[in-house]
Amino acid sequence: MIELGHLRKNKSAHIMSSHGAVMEVAKMRLVVVMVAFILCFFVIAGRLGHLMIVMHGDQQTVESMVESKRRVGRADIVDRNGVVLATSLVTQSLYANPKVVVNAEEAAKKLSEIFSELNYETLLTKLKADRGFVWLKRNLTPRQQNLVYGLGLPGIGFQREEKRIYPQAHLLAHVIGCTDVDSRGVSGIEKSFNEALTQDHEPLQLSLDVRVQHVLRDEILKKIEEFNALGGCGIVMDVTTGELIALASFPDYDPHQINGLKKERLFNAATSGVFEIGSSMKILTTALALDSGIVKIDNRYDISEPIRVGRFRIKDYHPKKMVADIPQIFLYSSNIGMVKMVSDLGVERHREYLGRFGLFEAPILELPEIGSPLVPAKWRDINSMTISYGYGLAISPLQIANAVSSVVNGGILRRPRLLKLAENEKVTGVRVISEKTSQTMRDLMRLVVQHGTGRNANAHGYDVGGKTGTAEKLSNGRYRRENMVSFISAFPMSSPRYMVLVMVDEPKGNKASHGFATAGWIAAPAVKNVVSRIAPMLGIQPTPTEQATSPQYEVFKASAQGHE
């Protein structure tokens, strides 16, 4: 018992002691594990807290995700009031993988039934082609897509694509241009801003106004139809900023259907075409002659006899047997008077001034279709003489429009632009003529509309001033009877804000024009209609009728009427 007890005691002591050691070890391990776990949980808790408190929501990421979703496709083009001129819409295009197509004959037959414009044979060759991918039809309508879905043909699929849509169709075709089937700009703004339109996602805002553009188009088209003309063009420009408000050229086209169109239809006459501008040039000639100080407003020139230069004979369209002062020469649009003025000025000075107006180099505009002027290689007396009344120098309508804008706006030449001016953007310009000359020119232009060849352009209440230009067209080295008629005007003349140019190519005179195919009968009435329709839109306050522009105007008027 004792032994046993001893033994037991011994054993229990042994056990007790070994038990204690084991417990120690176990405890240690437990502590280690617990510490490890606690550390882990602290890390997790810390991370949780970090996520919930520090980075909660992370709004920036959300916004940028929305942004990136939005960044699909080519940016829109809008007019100055935000009207959509070009936009990209998502459509589905149909393709086939000929290697997977099971029954090409059946597929071709069924597809040609859905798409009337695709014929069976072409479809069949496409579907049997030894390739992995062929386009069958680009830009399906949702209905067509549904029909094809319904066929359940193997090896035929849809690819999400973009299609460029021009909701205004013809209206701005020449300016906006168009894109090819892969959405790359091929002409107009679409081409010149191709990079920006694909990279930047804000709509591109132009300076054009669709309402004004429509009026210009409507009125010019009416004249083209009425006088059976070949085409024409028109420009409305803000003379204080150089922004183009409307830019039209005819014939125009539907930008959705450019395949198979003749080149002439895609030709933007207003910017690419260069013409001998005719009498409209006399605005510049008179302005530069007066500005040089060499010719004074009351200088008198004998305009009764035609001028002979070699084999040329320069005569007047409305001959007057008189010794005329400058307002009379301008009013009667006397070629002889103009020639005498630039002869007094000298070739060099004349040329230098025309250069200042930017007539010798292609104008800078946000369009790829810009025509370069045709300038005589050698500049002799005879060149200066003919250029003084608008022959022998071919410039684009845009160039003359911009030059005349500088004449009426106080003498500052600005760069024409198609992008809308930002709110705080300042436009720069160079002075080409003095403020005083500009004022005189406004009075002279007003005189032409009140009492001269531009009477048909007198839009009552809007104080229009301008100059007619009827130029014979040159073909194969001879001047033909066909005319290019134009009217260049600005309004209101007391403080010009807008320049309006209308040109009609080869009109045929009819009863309404008393058989005349001249600017005064064709282009001037168009300008009158354009001005009376757009002035209220553009917020031009009508002035009481027949208010004089300036005291000087009354003097001009008296001298001009004194002779009649």
Partner: protein
């Protein structure tokens, strides 16, 4: 007694675990929601584009002019239809004077 820290720790761990899972599920649910909203925004934007294009097409000036010629008798505005605010105020003033005169005239006659 020795168990107390262990129990406290386990409770803490359990609570953390539960919270973690809940947060995780909420995040997952929110992500699904976010994706859905993105899709909605995208669809909305595409629909806006289509509608804008359609609006521009329907308000194309030539179309409006044709419709106006067909259904309305509107004509381009004439300068005589536009008057300045000063003129309007002048007319109102005249009107007021006439009214006043009539009133004073009437009140003189009344008694």
């Amino acid at each position: 007694m020795k168990l107390t820290p262990f129990i406290v720790m386990s409770l803490f761990a359990i609570i953390l675990g539960v919270v973690l899972f809940q947060v995780k599920y909420r995040v997952a649910a929110l992500e699904v929601e976010l994706g859905r909203i993105h899709q909605l925004i995208h669809d909305g934007q595409e629909a806006i584009k289509v509608l804008n294009a359609e609006w521009s097409y329907l308000t194309e000036p030539q179309r409006l002019q044709n419709l106006s010629d067909k259904f309305l008798t509107l004509k381009p505005m004439q300068p005589a239809q536009i008057v300045s605010l000063a003129e309007v105020l002048g007319v109102l003033e005249e009107e007021a004077k006439v009214q006043q005169k009539m009133v004073s005239h009437a009140s003189e006659e009344m008694p």
